[in-house]
């Protein structure tokens, strides 16, 4: 399973804004909170994190030096 956005379901208010901006259809509402669907298509665009008014989605980056 590839890296996926971190969702804090307790913070999610179910507004669905993240679903609207997710071009790879990796998010869905389940029981009024957002859930990640493993489609293998998530491109880490981070738009879901950017639009979430509750700060419920995090797309953290590992910062690494390229191996020579």
């Amino acid at each position: 399973m590839s890296e996926i956005p971190v969702i804090d379901q307790e913070k999610c208010n179910g507004c669905g804004l993240c679903i609207n901006v997710c071009s790879c259809k990796s998010l869905m509402l389940s029981g009024n909170v957002i859930t990640f669907v493993e489609t293998g298509n998530c491109g880490w665009c981070t738009w879901c994190e950017a639009v979430c008014p509750m700060g419920a989605i995090r797309c953290p980056f590992d910062i690494v030096l390229e191996e020579r």
Binding site: W44, A50, F61, V64
Partner: protein, 224 residues
């Protein structure tokens, strides 16, 4: 859980103390934990304790009236936060929030005051720690005043780039990078794109790969 003597020995505050001097101090230290997103101290609230990070990462930040964050420090294992109120008796100068599950050791202000009175060596260590913190804050003011956003971001990327050998570095969201660089999230997105277009970094899914460290240093204004 027992307070680990080895860890206490490694804290800069207690550097150079003998086992006989350290042992009684263990009784003044309490352990506490926090989950990701949990506040440990709140800005402007009365200060109760000084904290040391045992494991995990804590962000120390100020919040503006309109809700924007400015991260002052990312506190890693062995480092302290909420130091100032011990000496000036004032309120918490900034908020502190766990960036993941954290284990902390704390010392109540009144207990720290008595340690300082009875251990001059600790007082000297504290001056050293506070001097380093002052240097860090001066550097932050310099960055915010004189460097543009891409240069500030370059500095952050250099500081948080892991080489796979040393201790793991905290993972950062674009929002957190923005809060550290004193800018908006959108500006971080643009600066990442700028660095990528110049071939200095590569965005590889959830990884920011630094492909040209020397060029990144130039952007950051790092002089060696």
């Amino acid at each position: 859980m027992a307070i680990q003597a080895e860890f206490i020995k490694s804290i800069p505050y207690f550097s150079g103390l003998s086992p006989a001097e350290l042992d009684p101090l263990r009784g003044l230290i309490f352990e506490t934990t926090a989950d990701r997103g949990e506040f440990i101290v709140l800005e402007s609230e009365p200060a109760e304790a000084l904290y040391f990070v045992v494991s995990g990462v804590v962000k120390v930040f100020k919040t503006s009236a309109d809700g924007r964050e400015q991260i002052l420090q990312i506190v890693r294992p062995g480092e302290s936060f909420n130091d100032a109120p011990i000496f000036d008796g004032g309120a918490n100068p900034a908020s502190a929030q766990a960036m993941g599950p954290v284990v902390l050791y704390g010392i109540k202000n009144s207990d720290m005051s008595s340690i300082l009175r009875s251990h001059p060596r600790v007082a000297l260590n504290v001056i050293n720690v506070l001097s380093q913190k002052m240097r860090h804050l001066v550097s932050l003011v310099e960055d915010l005043s004189f460097r543009h956003v891409t240069a500030r971001l370059a500095k952050i990327l250099l500081e948080y780039a892991g080489d796979g050998v040393g201790p793991s570095k905290p993972r950062l969201t674009q929002q957190e990078m923005a809060a550290m660089a004193g800018t908006a999230r959108e500006m971080i997105g643009r600066s990442l794109k700028e660095l990528e277009d110049e071939g200095i970094i590569r965005l590889d899914h959830h990884r920011i790969v630094v492909t040209d460290k020397e060029a990144l240093k130039k952007w950051a204004g790092v002089v060696e």
